[in-house]
């Protein structure tokens, strides 16, 4: 019927519902299935329900007491011990456990179980570390210096098999106080292998618990009740145990005291003996010492003598050397003197021969020279005389001439003078004549009345008169002279002056005069020549005399030299005699010195042997002293030792007594499975996580599916309105008409649901548990029973949703009049859309685009359905990817961006100061360690108004150093906080759990010290674990005592990280270092844990993808079906297939993109919600989706969309154009 016609629609509803229901019920039932699978495994292997451990072990009595408790079905005591197992070159810590009869059955994968002491079965996971074979022998070591044979029968075991234990269902094996602090595997041995007085633990089975499923509330209730019951007896059992121990110990103490007294007596004797020995030794040594000292004194004096002798000798040698050098220089002088004398002698001989040669040559010359000179002198005197004879008359003549001439000139002069004076006298007479009247006038005037002028005139008058007189005298004189001259002239033969003058000017006179003068000049020259010759001769004579003198002097010199030479020779001969004498003396002195030296040398040798003797004596003595001292010291030490031992023993006894006093009741730790088995708990938590995922994810998935089926049904009813109208017109009742659709919907939905449940509840849990098996590989069976609860839930929901939608739309249609129904629905009006108002954009669009866009807007329902559908799928995928991002990034962020340290070391609170110092100095000296700091870490409870949670109170010793290892940053901003004095920093997840924020106050509860209130200064980013950071100052202020650091964080240098464990292993050698945990192994463990989520996420993504596909297909199908006519029309208009397809695709692509965009927003919001839900309490997941996730989701969505469109292409091609001719239905 209808189904056949609309098979596509039916199938799509069927599958959408199937998918939704399958996913919902499948994911949801994963959680119980996981538990069930676990439970069946645990039951099969008889996993203990409760583990009881005693700090002092458990006795048989304890076991019996436990057995007697109500609600306990079975109990078995057991042994365990951590030992070191050799692995290749290294050692790994393994947990050795005894094999129980009725608990914790080991599954043997190879070989067999150990049957007797000395056999062991090895953890099959441990095989990864070393290559072991059955039959191999392993020798274990204790990691703390204790002899393993104290607690074990043997330390060498033969491997008889490999296997696994329900105690260890995953990779983690727990922590230890030995080795590197990390247990790597377990070893099962038979109980006989242990040699212990008491059991280390007891395993308990709770009555009826086996019937309940692990992890369920019922199981937990039973288990908790049993724990509580055991807690009740623990006080009593513990005090009994204490009493036993105290008694035993007291007895031992008493024994010890007796022994002590005995030992103390012995010690006293020994001491006396020692004293005696000491004094004897002292005396002997004293004597030896004296002897030594005497010998030493003797040696010293002889040494002194030798030294003196040596000094003297040295002095003598020095003198001798000085003398020798003087002598040598004397000899040198003598020799040079001798050489000189010889030289002089030679010179002298040369000079003499030269002199003799000279003398012979020059002397005759000189003598002849002298004779010649005398001759020449005579000649010269004769010459002179001759010339003088000739010269006398000439000179006389010349004198006469000159007399005449001067007479003449005198006459002339005198004549002239007389004339002049006569003239002057005439002038004076004239003047007197003229003035005579005047003079007469004036001379009449009495003298007194004369004027000045008149007086002057008178004077002048007188003067003039005198002048005239003078002149007259002069004239007289001159006339006298003239007379005289005239006389002379007359004497000379001249009468007058004129005659004279004429004579003088006559030619005769002048020639005579000239001749005379010439002759005179000639004679003068000759005379001069003779004088010159005379001069020359005198010179020659002088030279000769000098030469003669020279020769004579040279002769004298040579004679002198000769006598000097003789003298020198004599001197030299004397000096030589002296020198030879000196040399002889020195040689004699040397001989003496040599003799003395020999003597000294002998003395020295004697001294050396004496010294050697002394030395030997001394070392002998010293040895004796040392020996004696050593013996004494030894003796003393023995005594001291004895004393110390005694003291120690006393102390021990005292301590033991004190300890006995102090012995507290041993503690019992009663642990249920979750407390005792971390991995068991982890498995449960994973199941919880699945539940969280199941609560959110499938719901959304289901929602999308339901919505789609709902739309499809609504559309179907709407499409068939004509038919409904017709039926109604024909008189069918509403119910009858609606029935068809209701049945249709019911069939599709219910069918789909059943199918979904059947498949989903098997497939999904299987996949998920399979995924977890990566971690829990020893859980053998995957149990995936149907969980009716979820099946019913999902089916009911799906059916209801669709049915309701169908009924509602039927109702809507049926409410209308049949006539109205039979008419085609008034066609949807084309509408102008907002975009059209943006002319520039709109004009550019082609009609096809215009149509597409208008279509999108026009079919609002379809638009929203598609966008929601695609968006929903996109969001789901994005959540899948995002979840992966959020979960996987936390490990990296936590250990690389927040906690930088590579390992944390935990100390026992009993750690001593020295040990701490030692550890710190060790850390300081480690080159590979870059930073380290101490802190107190303490698990405490924190309380806000709303909740109470436990967290790690962390008190850094040095805040500044600590902040280099741990980053207090904000997740949402770039802020980095610093630990302030009066405020604390809380990690983010804890702040959410407590519902507090920065500025709020919370209360922290220290078990011993009570409750304190602190103010939160900041909330910092942190993903794994919870911490409350507080400054040491504030801690002290709050609790009144400084924080005792109990941990040490350290970070390796870059590139040295591989040495982290070396450092850790070293630290574990200290007694009070409890544990070292390495960031890298934490990281690995977290990664392992989270990796199993990976497959789950893949399942989510694939499912979301499938849903996306179905949704897209369905919506496209509706789209095409609805618009068949329109599409046929455009085909008729001549659109090619591809044009027709793109006409449709355009809308699809737009819708897909819009949907994807919406999906991104939705996904982001959804993720926040999902992450918060999925998160476990102990960790916070990231909150951000990484951009590749957006890209992947988008690509998937677009990919699906493209695929659907591709499928649609064929459907489009099949559209018959004839459709266009049909009337509107």
């Amino acid at each position: 019927m209808e189904i056949r016609k609309t098979l596509g629609r039916f199938v799509s509803i069927f599958f959408i519902v199937a998918l939704g229901v399958a996913f919902y019920s499948g994911i949801r039932s994963s959680e119980p299935s996981m538990r069930l699978s676990g439970d069946s495994y645990f039951d099969k292997l008889k996993l203990m329900d409760i583990k009881v451990m005693g700090t002092m072990g458990l006795t048989e009595d304890d076991i019996r007491a436990i057995q007697a408790v109500d609600g306990i079905e079975q109990v078995e005591g057991s042994y365990s011990k951590d030992v070191l197992c050799p692995v290749e070159d290294a050692e790994k810590v393994v947990h050795m456990i005894s094999m129980e009869k009725s608990f914790n059955k080991v599954q043997v994968s190879e070989g067999r179980l150990p049957e007797k002491a000395g056999e062991c079965l090895i953890d099959e996971d441990f095989l990864g570390y070393g290559d072991y074979k059955i039959g191999d022998k392993i020798t274990f070591r204790s990691g703390n210096g204790e002899d393993l044979k104290e607690s074990l029968v043997t330390d060498t075991f033969t491997i008889v098999g490999f296997g696994n234990s329900p105690l260890y269902i995953s990779f983690g094996r727990g922590n230890s106080t030995i080795g590197n602090g990390e247990v790597s595997g377990f070893v099962v041995v038979s109980k006989e292998s242990f040699d212990m007085d008491v059991f280390t633990e007891a395993y308990v089975r709770v009555e009826d618990a086996g019937r309940e499923i692990a992890y369920t509330d019922k199981f937990n209730e039973l288990s908790d009740a049993a724990v509580a019951a055991l807690e009740d007896i623990k006080e009593q059992q513990c005090s009994i145990r204490r009493q036993n121990i105290v008694d035993e110990a007291s007895e031992e103490v008493t024994d010890a005291e007796e022994t002590l007294a005995e030992e103390s007596g012995k010690l006293e004797d020994a001491r006396q003996e020692l004293e005696d020995a000491k004094s004897t030794a002292a005396k002997e040594l004293q004597a030896a010492r004296k002897k030594l000292e005497d010998g030493e004194a003797q040696l010293a004096s002889s040494r002194q003598q030798i030294e003196d002798g040596e000094a003297q000798l040295a002095e003598g040698k020095k003198q001798l050397a000085a003398q020798q050098s003087t002598l040598d220089s004397g000899r040198k002088d003598y020799e040079s003197g001798l050489a000189e004398v010889k030289k002089n002698e030679t010179n002298l001989d040369n000079a003499e021969s030269e002199y003799l040669a000279n003398y012979a040559q020059y002397m005759p010359l000189i003598i002849s020279g002298k004779e010649e000179i005398a001759k020449r002198k005579e000649e010269i005197a004769q010459g002179k005389q001759t010339i003088e004879q000739y010269l006398a008359p000439i000179e006389e003549g010349l004198t006469q001439i000159t007399q005449l001439e001067s007479l003449n000139s005198g006459l002339i002069e005198v004549e002239k003078g007389i004339t002049d004076v006569a003239n002057a006298i005439g002038a004076a007479e004239q003047s007197l004549l003229e003035k005579k009247p005047e003079y007469e006038r004036i001379s009449l005037i009495p003298e007194a009345e004369r004027t000045e002028e008149e007086k002057q005139f008178l004077v002048d008058w007188e003067n003039l008169k005198a002048t005239k007189k003078g002149l007259e005298d002069t004239k007289a004189g001159l006339e006298a002279k003239q007379g005289e001259l005239t006389v002379q002239m007359q004497a000379a033969g001249f009468a007058t002056q004129a005659e004279l003058d004429a004579y003088l000017k006559s030619e005769e006179f002048l020639d005579q005069k000239k001749e005379l003068e010439a002759t005179k000049a000639k004679l003068d020259t000759q005379y001069q020549e003779i004088l010159n010759n005379e001069q020359e001769l005198l010179k020659t004579e002088e030279g000769l005399l000098a030469k003669e003198q020279e020769l004579l002097a040279a002769g004298q010199q040579i004679a002198d030299g000769k006598s000097q030479l003789v003298e020198a020779k004599n001197q030299l001969a004397r000096a030589k005699a002296q020198i030879d004498d000196g040399q002889r003396q020195i040689d004699a002195a040397w001989a003496t010195v040599r003799g003395k030296e020999q003597t000294l040398e002998d003395g020295k040798n004697q001294l050396a042997s004496g010294e050697q003797e002394l030395q030997d004596g001394r070392s002998e003595y010293e040895q004796a002293v040392i020996d004696a001292a050593a013996q004494i010291a030894d003796g003393e030490e023995q005594i001291a030792d004895g004393e110390a031992k005694l003291t120690e023993a006393k102390q021990d006894i005292a301590d033991a007594k004190a300890e006995i006093e102090k012995i507290e009741n041993p503690k019992w730790y009663v642990q249920n499975r979750e407390d005792a088995l971390e991995e068991y708990k982890g498995y449960g938590e994973n199941a919880d996580r699945m539940r969280s995922i199941g609560r959110v994810f499938p719901v959304l998935f289901f929602l999308v599916a339901a919505l789609i089926s709902l739309t499809t049904m609504t559309r179907m009813v709407e499409e068939q309105r004509v038919q409904i109208g017709t039926m109604k017109a024909l008189g069918y009742s509403k119910l009858l008409i609606a029935k068809k659709y209701i049945y249709y919907a019911l069939l599709a939905t219910f069918g789909g649901s059943v199918f979904g449940v059947l498949v989903g509840e098997k497939v999904f849990p299987f996949i998920i548990i399979y995924a977890y098996k990566i971690m829990y590989q020893h859980i053998p069976d995957i149990l995936v029973p149907y969980h009716l609860e979820y099946a019913v839930q999902a089916t009911a929901l799906a059916v209801l949703c669709t049915l309701l939608a169908t009924v509602l739309s039927c109702y809507k249609e049926l409410a209308s009049q049949p006539a109205e129904l039979m008419r085609p629905p008034s066609p949807k009006q084309g509408k102008r859309i907002l975009l059209e108002r943006v002319k520039p954009v709109w004009k550019r669009l082609s009609f096809i685009w215009k149509s597409s866009i208008r279509n999108l807007i026009r079919y609002k329902k379809r638009f929203f359905m598609t966008v929601f559908g695609i968006g929903g799928c996109m969001a789901l995928m994005l959540v899948g990817f995002g979840l992966k991002d959020c979960i996987f990034e936390i490990v990296e962020i936590q250990y690389e961006k927040i906690q930088f340290y590579d390992a944390s070391v935990y100390f026992d609170d009993a750690i001593t100061g020295e040990e701490r110092e030692e550890i710190l100095s060790y850390m300081k000296n480690q080159n590979a360690v870059s930073k380290y700091t101490q802190a107190r870490m303490q698990k405490i409870k924190a309380k806000s108004d709303k909740a109470e949670e436990s967290l790690y109170l962390t008190v850094p010793q040095n805040v500044e150093e600590f902040e280099k290892l741990v980053n207090f940053g904000s997740r949402t901003s770039d802020d980095v906080y610093s630990l302030e004095k009066d405020q604390v920093i809380l990690t983010e997840k804890m702040s959410q759990l407590l519902d507090v924020k920065a500025g709020d106050k919370i209360t922290i509860k220290d078990e011993d010290r009570g409750e304190r209130e602190v103010t939160i200064g900041a909330v910092c980013e942190n993903y794994i674990g919870h911490y409350l950071y507080i400054t040491p100052e504030l801690y002290e202020e709050l609790f009144g005592a400084p924080a005792r650091d109990n941990s040490l964080l350290y970070m390796m240098k870059e590139g040295q990280e591989n040495r982290t464990e070396d450092v850790g292993e070293h630290l574990l050698n200290y007694d009070n270092v409890l544990n070292v945990s390495y960031t890298s192994s934490l990281e690995e463990r977290m990664d392992d844990m989270l990796r199993s989520l990976n497959l789950v996420i893949v399942v989510l993504i694939i499912s979301a993808g499938m849903l996306a596909f179905v949704v897209l297909y369905n919506l496209n199908n509706i789209n095409i079906t609805e618009r068949k006519r329109e599409l046929a029309t455009i085909k008729v208009l001549g659109f090619y297939d591809i044009e027709v397809a793109s006409y449709v695709y355009r809308e699809n692509i737009l819708l897909t993109l819009i949907g994807a965009l919406a999906g991104m927003g939705l996904g982001k919001i959804l993720l926040q919600f999902v992450v918060v839900t999925v998160e476990v309490n102990e960790a916070m997941f990231g909150r951000d989706i990484h951009w590749p996730s957006y890209v992947y989701s988008l690509l998937f969505t677009v990919g699906f969309s493209l695929f659907v469109n591709w499928v649609m292409f064929f459907k489009l091609r099949r559209i018959d154009m004839v459709e266009s001719l049909k009337s509107v239905e």
Partner: protein
């Protein structure tokens, strides 16, 4: 050959299980260029088959369909699409307008794909819708919608205008107006129009009347003097 449209022994046989049903059983007719041809006949006479074959929406099982010198019957699917695109204008009984495009846009949509279109506005004005360019189909009456449909067909400037019962969904007067429009188009523009109808009353207005019966042409008459539409009554 020689004629503008010529069908020669066109057969269309549908296989319905064992039986072969011949929707067209050897149809022959010719239509000259510029003629207004009417194909009439009762339901099941093969009118629609002829229309489908002429319109390139379907292919003949055998025979030849010559349109302006080409044998459409031998065309493959793509050639047929091109043929529809370029040579055929189609007027539907139910107008088949794209509901979310305006009148003008509906015309322009068709124009977008063809080679030498006419101006859309001019054509719309010609069919008497000069003032309703921007109305959506739902805002137009049936007659107006049919006018848009005709305008859409004409604007493509086709060789052949095929009309499938264009008045079928219209009232009497409107129908007449549409027929008038078609006749006018034929007369004024020399457009070859083939109108398919079961209403033989329309026949007198045609240049050529092809009567069909049982998949065959029972009678083909040429009307020497077609009457104007106004005078036809039915």
């Amino acid at each position: 050959m020689g004629e503008f449209v010529e069908l020669r022994d066109v057969r269309k046989i549908y296989h319905m299980g064992e039986i072969d049903i011949a929707a067209a059983d050897g149809i022959d007719f010719v239509i000259k260029k510029g003629e207004f041809a009417v194909v009439v006949g009762p339901s099941g006479a093969g009118k629609t088959t002829v229309l489908n074959i002429l319109g390139g929406m379907d292919t003949a099982t055998s025979g030849e369909v010559w349109i302006d010198g080409s044998d459409v019957a031998k065309y493959n699917a793509r050639q047929l699409t091109s043929y529809r695109r370029d040579d055929i204008g189609f007027v539907f009984q139910f107008y088949n307008l794209i509901p979310n495009l305006t009148a003008l846009e509906n015309v322009e949509l068709a124009l977008q794909i063809c080679k030498n279109p006419l101006d859309a506005e001019a054509v719309l004005t010609d069919v008497g819708l000069g003032e309703r360019f921007d109305n959506f189909p739902a805002q137009l009456s049936g007659g107006e919608q049919q006018r848009v449909s005709i305008a859409r067909a004409l604007a493509k400037n086709p060789k052949l205008l095929l009309c499938d019962e264009p008045t079928g969904a219209l009232d009497y007067n409107t129908g007449k107006a549409i027929l008038k429009l078609l006749q006018d188009t034929c007369r004024k523009q020399g457009m070859t129009v083939i109108l398919i109808t079961h209403n033989s009353a329309i026949a007198p207005m045609a240049d050529r009347v092809i009567k069909m019966k049982n998949g065959k042409v029972s009678k083909m008459t040429e009307n020497k003097e077609p009457v104007p539409v106004e005078t036809i009554e039915w």
